[in-house]
Amino acid sequence: MGDQFLLLLSYMLIFAVALMFVALGGMFSERSGVINIGLEGIMVVGGFAGLLTLNALSEAGCPGFITVIVTILVAILAGMAYSLLLAVVCIQFGADQTLTGTALNLLATAISLIFTKRLSGGVSTSINFSHDLFVFKIGNSFSFNIFLFIGIAALIISFIVLYKLRFGLRLRACGENPAAADSVGINVKKYRYAGVLISGALGGLGALAYILPTASFWNSSTGVAGFGFLALAIMIFGQWKPIRIGVISLLFSFFLSLSYVYSGLFESIFGFTLTAENGVTSELFRMLPFIASLILLAFTSKKSRAPKAEGIPYDKSRR
């Protein structure tokens, strides 16, 4: 029984950290006034680039420490580069943010599939990798990974940046009332670029935090299985506030982890197995966070604290 709980806990930590990274990324982007639907695609690209780097470096026999750092950096940079695609057309040219985000998602899946197929000669769509450098095992069932520490640091830094630094104040101003921000000499475009790039960086990091610890292969046709969208739900649930996002990520990851370990956990507590005949499958648990956020949205949307200018391209001449 204890083993099952430890397993649940380690799954929870993995998912919570990964979701939190991406949700924080979404928060930065939306706080600056750009809706980032493309987080899912950014995750796919960032994670894919990270995995390729990891494989290349471990083949070259690089020391473990350097491998870890370079892999993470490459994932972050890839995420940022990909998010730049969104930033340029949405901020510079005022394109529709939702549509562009959707396009990024479509493109990311296609690109990662093309390259994985190319790498395997057109046969397989998955990449194998070894995650020993990132994951530390304690005992039989509990494990934690390096992203846990990065995640806690990221949460604290996000809070400080958003509420204690001048940068954060200006970023929030650009999301709430860009015209007012502009009138006191803040470069709205610059801050929106910063917001989107931060979301790209955190998206790439989150993708690694999700892909690396959970398995030893990654199937590019699955991508990140809706994690980017789940992170958006967390961001809304957390009302665009970093600490709340951290807490809600734990809650959501609890449901998500249950979908993996529910049968063993239930068996060890109550003594009988849940199967599809009882009407319980893992899909049920995966549905729950989405349903919960939908219900919450219905009740709280009238007093939602969403950034007021999100989704509206800033046009200086209309000030």
Partner: protein, 430 residues
């Protein structure tokens, strides 16, 4: 020897007007988008395998038609669901909604059509109808949330997409598990084996066309014409369009805008689900419970074709044929060098660029307006600087020009203030 020269301006006046209309500009921008995407795709191919790039590219954009007539019917069969998904986006968009929940409505449509086809052994028209009811209900949820709780339809649509996927899988794992053939890798049963009456009618042409020909494409085309008819010829269509253009004005005019939002979403969802049933009842594929860890691709491509078709039902028909041509053709490329996903890559690029087409239209309009303004100004200056108000932009742009009359300057400042106020009010309403 006399040679007749072609001159653009000598075309008949009506043709000229047509070529210079807003709709024509939209068409040009779509075509430019497609061309740029194809060129980028070609560069992509050349960078992968230069020797085979050109012939394989040819295979892709002809949709593999050189590999036999069966492909023609395959493309028609795959166009039908895509067209319906595109129409779904178009319809919702006319009411000012971005129905990103189309993937969920499509998935629920799969559940509805397969449930009634395999579990209840209903004939095809019942399956289609029930799928459409399922889709309409599913899409009405974001509509209701938007109308009464002010929830953005994009956010609720995304949530409902994933709920639909997990719910469909959950259904086939539990109470519908008799629909699933465990021996065939837990896919749903082949319709021809368990309930041939649920398969769309093919007039006995199935074998001659490789199993691809059904009446699906005709149903989809009728749907497109119906959407066009509702939008442009009926009171309902007028009301929907009006509330998409200005919510408050329609409310003032006595149109029930909340009801309109829900109706528009429900119809949009029904169209998406119709697409799903046209795909699965034509027997093109079976739903695989194990492999379905992400949402189906067809409805996402529906977003592509809707925007490439410039959000018009007729444009969507051509866009969906073209998109299917590419995605079908990409399977005929040398798979070791060029994976079939290059088709998806190109369609993704098209929709990414189509975000910019409006920009092109705006830029052209701005240029034309500026030119007109400059001409007017020129006339004004030559007439001796009458007291006409120049607008905001021209003042900023013409800093070099000295305006002698102080009165004019004062008036201009007042004008700027007024336009600012108006803009702020507009922004507040949005």
């Amino acid at each position: 020897m006399e040679k007749s020269k072609f001159s653009f301006n000598e075309l008949p006046r009506r043709t000229l007007n047509l070529l210079k209309s807003q709709g024509a500009f939209k068409t040009y921008s779509s075509i430019i988008c497609i061309l740029i995407s194809l060129i980028i795709g070609l560069i992509f191919l050349i960078s992968m395998d230069p020797a085979n790039a050109f012939p394989e590219f040819g295979n892709m954009i002809t949709g593999g038609l050189s590999f036999g007539g069966v492909n023609f019917f395959a493309i028609m069969a795959k166009t039908a669901p895509l067209l319906c998904a595109g129409l779904s986006i178009v319809f919702a968009n006319k009411t000012g909604m971005f129905n990103i929940g189309v993937a969920g409505q499509y998935t629920i449509g799969i559940l509805g059509s397969l449930m009634f086809a395999i579990q209840f052994k209903c004939p095809w028209y019942v399956c289609i109808l029930m799928a459409m009811v399922f889709g309409a209900i599913w899409a009405a949820i974001p509509g209701l949330l938007k109308a009464f709780c002010n929830v953005s339809e994009v956010i609720s649509g995304i949530m409902l997409n994933w709920i639909a996927l997990f719910f469909t899988n959950y259904s086939f794992q539990t109470y519908l598990n008799s629909c699933v053939d465990i021996t065939q890798g837990s896919k749903t049963y082949d319709l021809m084996m368990v309930n041939p009456s649920a398969r769309l009618p093919d007039f006995g042409l199935s074998n001659a066309t490789g199993g691809y020909f059904t009446i699906s494409i005709f149903i989809a085309l009728i749907a497109a014409i119906l959407v066009w008819f509702i939008m442009s010829k009926t009171t309902l269509g007028f009301q929907l369009k009006a509330s998409g253009l200005n919510k408050d004005a329609t409310k003032y005019a006595g149109i029930k805008e909340k009801r309109n939002i829900i109706i528009s979403m429900a119809i949009s969802g029904a169209l998406a689900a119709l697409g799903a049933s046209l795909y699965y009842l034509a027997g093109l594929e079976e739903w695989s419970v194990q492999a379905s860890t992400s949402l189906p691709q067809v409805p996402w491509n529906g977003i592509v074709v809707a925007f490439v078709g410039q959000l018009s039902p007729i444009g969507t028909i051509f866009a969906s044929i073209f998109t299917t041509l590419i995605s079908h053709g990409s399977r005929f490329m040398l798979q070791t060098s060029f994976p079939a996903e290059i088709g998806d890559f190109i369609t993704g690029l098209i929709v990414y660029l189509s975000g910019l087409t409006n920009l092109a239209v705006i830029l052209v309009n701005k240029y034309l307006a500026k030119r007109k303004e400059r001409q007017a100004e020129f006339a004004l200056v030559s007439a001796g600087g009458g007291e006409t108000s120049l607008n905001n932009e021209s003042v900023i742009n013409n800093e070099t020009e000295e305006i002698k009359n102080e009165k004019v300057v004062d008036e201009n400042l007042n004008n700027i203030d007024e336009t600012n106020k108006e803009n702020n009010e507009e922004g507040g309403n949005n």
